[in-house]
């Protein structure tokens, strides 16, 4: 996921820029939440299976 922080801290005094920034932050938070729920859920289930089968879950591909 691309970092949003590089252009996040714009001139905060202009109301429209603040609005734009806040909207982008909401979008970023929703993206993080969705990723944690969906991809994170898959990974958590895989880790649980790995505990039972004793076959380690390979993490190299995470985030690809």
């Amino acid at each position: 996921m691309k970092s949003f922080q590089e252009d996040f801290y714009l001139d905060a005094s202009h109301p429209l820029r603040r609005l734009s920034r806040n909207v982008r932050l909401i979008g970023y938070i929703l993206q993080v939440a969705f990723l944690w729920l969906v991809e994170g859920g898959r990974v958590r289930r895989a880790v649980l299976r790995a505990r039972e089968t004793r076959e380690p879950f390979e993490i190299d591909h995470l985030g690809d």
Binding site: V47, L48, R51, I59
Partner: protein
Amino acid sequence: MRPKDPPPATYPFAYRNPPRSGNAVNGLGEQEKSLARPVFHSTGRGGGRQSLDWAALDLLFNFLTSPGCFWQVLRTLWQRRLYVGPVARARVPADDTAAMAARIKAEAKRLGAGIAGVTTLRDDALYEGYPRPPYKYVVSIGTVMDRKEMEHVPQSRGAREVMRTYRRSSRIAIDLAAYIRGLGWPAQAYADGEDLIQIPLALAAGLGELGKHGSIINKEFGSNFRLAAVLTDLPLACDAPVDIGVDDLCTRCRRCELDCPPDAILDEKQMVRGVEKWYVDFDKCIPYFAMTEGCGICIEVCPWSEPGRGPALSEALIAKRRKENHESD
């Protein structure tokens, strides 16, 4: 308090092709001074988070976060919109930098910080290749954790308290930065994983000394607090690093070392990027850290973290050192 039956350091996950050693990235063994290189919990600015060697394990750590912790993470993320803001047009003069520093530190404590100190922005707080924040002064703040909750590390309940404290410390930094901007000076909150290394700033600002477990030990609160910072151009008198006797304890005490399940805590100081200091084996610590939502065992078992013990302990250690130095003269 020592945790009962912490999980063993065996993992249901693994790298098929392990990345470059995190210790090597951190500069363990390097004799020349240099800037820190990002390795974990960083935005990987420029190349993105995926450019970091341990990005996959960092992502796993985030995925294994429990719902209660994750909720705190989201709330803290939402607070980031407040890290910067408009600066008041009328500027309060800061000719008396000592009085102004005292005023700012008092405000930090009024907002909820347990400890606060001032230093200048230092190179050892920066990552190689990252832009330098455009501020000169740093107000380093420590927010105390609820000890009763921290007794539950390395379980989720302890991790929730850590994340809750990061959210609180972020809020304190936000409000303090807003206060300074209200005085007519630019200021920005730096908390919650912003790409600034907090520990060197806190050490320089006199919040405590570096302990064997790689965290700061404060005279009053031990290791039971979390850091954040406010960067500003407001001229402030700086505090100095403190000597509270941490090395006198850590060179003799092995509590954290013995209680660390992955045996990541080293008994002697190491050379790291040209500085000899206490260092925790990254390659051993971080997989356990990822599996247990941030572990925290070393902080919890540190004798200095026991409430009320710190000041007397510090005085006793320093008195003993003076006596031993006097006897050897």
